[in-house]
Structures are given as structure tokens and as C-alpha cells.
């Protein structure tokens, strides 16, 4: 089979990207860039545009005028059309549509506290990209020349997840790790147990209950696939489970950010909730980015929780193997160790590998925290002024907590933040809005003076953003109405009950016990 479709589409898209790049580079879009406030995207606009233009024009010419024979070259180059197609939609949304929606929304004024409509509804490049993907596949169909490339979107997501490992350091994971292990452990084991119990009560087959419990408890699609041979699940049962998970995840992806804004959750709280309550890795990332489109703090926390959840997979697979063998006296014996070895998602290993490299200080000082590192050997002009210190002293009486009082005192004595713990404590004080605006601004200035951004980590952030924008737009192109319809029946009822319980309970636990430290 020859996959390359002779079409001018790729060449045209390559020329379009070239025009975008040239017009940005030579200032032809400066008015638009100013109106949309997208000057922060300019480096990305140039690099992505010229890369996509080069690939699009070269492969587009080969598509049109080359001779194509069945083989690896034809198979892999035929994906370029779809990749450039997704990139054009994803980047068009990220660079133009998303900022335009923000401009319109801001023109309407705040609708909830200090949040604008697009913030509350989570209307940003991630959500708009997924919606564009869903509309494309269900209304217009994917063009034949793009079909093969759309199948690369999950590769983009996995690559992005692996690269996320570079943003963490051991110190940071140790801080969040305990919290994530306790929370995730409780909710993963609870969800699996609840699905198995409900499945028994509602008389669904053991294999259906087993595969659904892994999907609802651990990490959605990957867990479903990993657990399916353990419980001898049939193809239709796997399909039902995946349909249920995707349907639930799509709903969560839109609802979670709205609820997060209503409850004024911070990045740590929302990341913990999304990583606990949403099942599919891509949808966790979608919700986190939708909640905080202009930063990566929420995404990082959510991914830590998500990865922690994935790490429970071997335990769940073992549990299901024992459970299934006991329930089905005549069931074929399954080697659980072999199943884990064969099915464990390797991208999680990649994430851990890059996290380990990052912790050695290869990309930023080893104690870096979210790509930023602490160093209070600062120049004299970065120290707080006497006037700043005087203003802080005037407001210090408002601070009730001892740790915040002590950190504030050390700051006033030394005119700079004296340690990482002090910095975290003072950021908590800022978030709590205990002090007035001017005092908070001084604390923010003191924080900025001792936190430095590593250039390499900033480059990784850019890569991750583009990979996720690409992957999630492509993910939208794979959500067909028929795959959503497949979620009907008992699995949907059980999945809905367990998913809702998990989301509500984890929200309560997080709001009560998780303190915002960023």
C-alpha cells in the first residue's frame, strides 16, 4: 500500500508557514501582534513557522512531483502532511484565535471575581485546539493526505510528557511526592475496589469489571490496555472501557478548570486535583493547561500526580491478576510479572530518566524548582530599599502565623530572602493576601531577586508547549461521535458514579488539606 497522496495541500501549507515567518520577522504583523499582545510568542512563531515551512515545502514538492513506492520512506514521509496540518491549526489557534478570544473577553470586563469569561470557561489554545480537532473530524473529516500524520499526535504527547521530567528536581519531587503518593494511593485503590464491588452488584462480567477498574483507577487508556490480558478482557469490553474513560475525561477537561476557578484554587491544589480526578494522561494535561494557559506550574503538579498514578499500575495489575484468578476458577493462568514487563508504559521510564538527569544539575542548578533556582548572592541594587523595609514593618503586625512572621523578620533584617524555605513561606503569605497590595508587591520583588530562570529549562518549556498543542489538537481529531457513543450502558453508569465520587472526594480533601505553596 502506498500512503502518499498526491496533493498540493502540503506545499500550500508550507508556503503559508513561510509567509507567517517572513511577515513576523520583517514586522508586517507588528500591528496585529500589538493588538493581540502576542509579542511573547514571537520567537516561537519564527522557529515553528520556518521549521514547518521547510518540511512542508520540501516534502510537499516530493509529494507532487516525486515517484512513490510502497516502503518505509513512503510510509513515514506521508505523515508530514498531517503533522503540518495539525501544526497549522494548533499554532493558528495559539498565536491568533486564543489571544483574540482573550481580547474580546477582556473587553467584556470581569465576570467572576477578577476573572474574565475566557478564564472562567477555560477557553484557551488547548481547549480551542481540541474543539477544532473534534469539529474537523466530525464535520469535515480528516483529509486523506493528513490521515497518516494525525496518528502521530499521541507520539507528540508522549514526547512532551517525557520532556516534562526535565522540569523537576529531586528536592521538588520529595516535597510533592509524599502528598501525591498518599492522595493517589488512597483514590486509586479506592476506585479500583469500588468498581470491582459495583461491577459485582450490577452483574457485569469479571473481565469487564476488571478492565474498567484499572481504567477508572489508574491512568485511563494505558491501564486498560495493560490490565486487559490479565483479566482476559474481550475487544468490545476494552472498547467500552476506553469510550467511558474518554467521555468522562472530555467532560472533566472542560468542567475541572471552571470548578477550579470558582473555588479560587492555586496551581498546586488544581494540579493535585486534576492529577487525581482525571483519568487520561492527555486530558490531565489538557485540564491543567486550560486552568493555567500562561504558565506551567499547574501542569507540572498535575503530571507529578499523574505519573504517581501510573506508578501504581504494577500493583493494580497484580491485584487484578490475583482477583481474577480467584473469581474465575477456570481462568487461564496469567503471568502477572510478564504482563507488567510487557505492558508498563515506557514513556514513564523516560520521564523518570530525564528527571534523574535534571536532578544532577545538567540543565539547571540541581536545586532548581520549576525551572527556577534559588541564589541570594545578589547585587546591591537588587536588595530591598529602606523605604520598602519601612513599609513592610508597618504591616508586619497583620501577620499571624509564626513561620510567616519569622521569614518576614529575616527578610526585613537582611533586605533579601535568606533561604528557599523562607521564599516558599513568603510566597504563601502573598497568596493569602494578608498584607496590602504595596507590601505584597515588595514581597514579589524580593522573590524575583533571588529566583533565577534557567535558560535550558525555559527552552524545554517551549518545546513542551508546542508538543502539547500539537498532540492535543490531534487528540481532538480522534474523538469521533461513534467512539463517544460506545460509552453507553453499564460501564458508563459505573464509570460515572466512581469518577464523580473520586472527583468530589478528592476536591474536598485537597481543599481541606493541601496548602498552596507556590
Amino acid at each position: 500500500m502506498v500512503y502518499t497522496k498526491r496533493s498540493p495541500a502540503l506545499l500550500i501549507m508550507g508556503i503559508l508557514f513561510l509567509l507567517i515567518g517572513i511577515s513576523v520577522q520583517f514586522g508586517l504583523q507588528s500591528g496585529l501582534i500589538k493588538y493581540l499582545s502576542i509579542d511573547k510568542h514571537m520567537t516561537e512563531m519564527l522557529s515553528v513557522s520556518y521549521t514547518a515551512a521547510t518540511a512542508g515545502i520540501l516534502v510537499g514538492l516530493w509529494n507532487l512531483f516525486g515517484t512513490h513506492k510502497e516502503g518505509h520512506l513512503d510510509y513515514y514521509l506521508s505523515t508530514v502532511g498531517g503533522v503540518v496540518f495539525i501544526l497549522l491549526i494548533a499554532m493558528g489557534i495559539r498565536w491568533y484565535l486564543d489571544p483574540w478570544v482573550a481580547v474580546l473577553s477582556k473587553a467584556m470586563g470581569p465576570v467572576m471575581a477578577d476573572k474574565y469569561l475566557h478564564d472562567v470557561l477555560g477557553l484557551n489554545y488547548v481547549v480551542l485546539g481540541i474543539i477544532a480537532g473534534i469539529i474537523t473530524v466530525n464535520l469535515f473529516k480528516i483529509p486523506a493526505w493528513a490521515e497518516n500524520g494525525v496518528r502521530l499526535s499521541r507520539l507528540g504527547l508522549k514526547t512532551g510528557v517525557i520532556l516534562l521530567g526535565t522540569l523537576y528536581s529531586l528536592a521538588e519531587l520529595a516535597h510533592l511526592g509524599q502528598l501525591s503518593v498518599v492522595l493517589i494511593g488512597f483514590f486509586v485503590l479506592g476506585s479500583v475496589g469500588l468498581v470491582l464491588w459495583m461491577g459485582q452488584r450490577r452483574h457485569i462480567s469479571n473481565s469487564m469489571g476488571g478492565v474498567l477498574s484499572a481504567g477508572m483507577g489508574v491512568c485511563g487508556v494505558s491501564a486498560t490496555v495493560a490490565a486487559s490480558p490479565v483479566v482476559n478482557a474481550k475487544s468490545a469490553e476494552i472498547a467500552y472501557t476506553i469510550g467511558t474513560i474518554l467521555l468522562w475525561g472530555v467532560g472533566c477537561m472542560f468542567l475541572f478548570p471552571i470548578v477550579g476557578h470558582i473555588f479560587h484554587m492555586g496551581p498546586v491544589q488544581f494540579g493535585a486535583w486534576a492529577g487525581t480526578g482525571i483519568l487520561n494522561s492527555a486530558q490531565v494535561a489538557g485540564a491543567a493547561l486550560a486552568f493555567q494557559p500562561n504558565g506551567i506550574e499547574t501542569l507540572k503538579v498535575a503530571e507529578i500526580f499523574n505519573i504517581t498514578r501510573v506508578l501504581f499500575l504494577p500493583i493494580i495489575v497484580l491485584w487484578l491478576a490475583v482477583w481474577y484468578v480467584r473469581r474465575e476458577a477456570g481462568a487461564e493462568q496469567v503471568n502477572a510479572g510478564r504482563v507488567i514487563f510487557e505492558k508498563f508504559p515506557m514513556f514513564v521510564v523516560g520521564f523518570i530518566m530525564l528527571f534523574a538527569l535534571s536532578s544532577t544539575g545538567l540543565f539547571a542548578p540541581a536545586n532548581h524548582y520549576q525551572g527556577q533556582y534559588f541564589d541570594n548572592n545578589i547585587k546591591a541594587e537588587k536588595l530591598l530599599s529602606e523605604k520598602d523595609v519601612g513599609l513592610l514593618k508597618g504591616e508586619a503586625a497583620k501577620v499571624q502565623r509564626n513561620d510567616q512572621n519569622e521569614a518576614l523578620q529575616r527578610l526585613m533584617d537582611n533586605r533579601k530572602v535568606m533561604g528557599i524555605d523562607d521564599d516558599d513561606t513568603l510566597r504563601g503569605l502573598v497568596n493569602a493576601k494578608t498584607l496590602g497590595k504595596e507590601a505584597n508587591d515588595i514581597l514579589k520583588k524580593a522573590h524575583k531577586a533571588v529566583r533565577h530562570t534557567a535558560k535550558k529549562i525555559a527552552a524545554f518549556r517551549d518545546w513542551i508547549t508546542v508538543l502539547f498543542a500539537f498532540g492535543l489538537t490531534g487528540l481532538g481529531m480522534q474523538i469521533t461521535m461513534s467512539s463517544i457513543r460506545q460509552a453507553g450502558g453499564q460501564p458508563l453508569v459505573i464509570g460515572g458514579v466512581v469518577g464523580t465520587l473520586k472527583a468530589v472526594l478528592s476536591l474536598l480533601v485537597i481543599l481541606l488539606f493541601v496548602r498552596e505553596t507556590i
Partner: protein, 53 residues
């Protein structure tokens, strides 16, 4: 066609034998292979960032 246990089973049924390699959601024959390719890409990007940024 891909492994019947692949996570793409729902779309495979819908798409029929549309792709003789991989599945409806991936160009790779197995999820494990896709994971390895993602790992290679990520390491190449990391190397590039390490050397040139």
C-alpha cells in the same frame, strides 16, 4: 492490522483495515515501540537544548 488488544480497538473497528501498519491512533505497530520513539525524540531534543542553549 495491529494487536487486537491495542487501545485503538474502538476506532479500528470503525476504520476497518484502513492502515495495514499500526492502528487508527498510531503509526507504530505496538504501544511499546511508540514509547521508545518518543523516548528517542525526547533525548534528541534534550541533547540539542544541552548543547545549543
Amino acid at each position: 492490522m495491529s494487536d487486537p488488544n491495542s487501545q485503538d480497538i474502538d476506532l479500528q473497528v470503525e476504520a476497518g483495515a484502513k492502515f495495514h501498519r499500526g492502528s487508527a491512533l498510531s503509526i507504530f505497530t505496538t504501544d511499546r515501540r511508540e514509547d521508545f520513539v518518543a523516548l528517542v525524540f525526547a533525548l534528541l531534543i534534550a541533547l540539542g537544548v544541552y548543547l545549543f542553549v
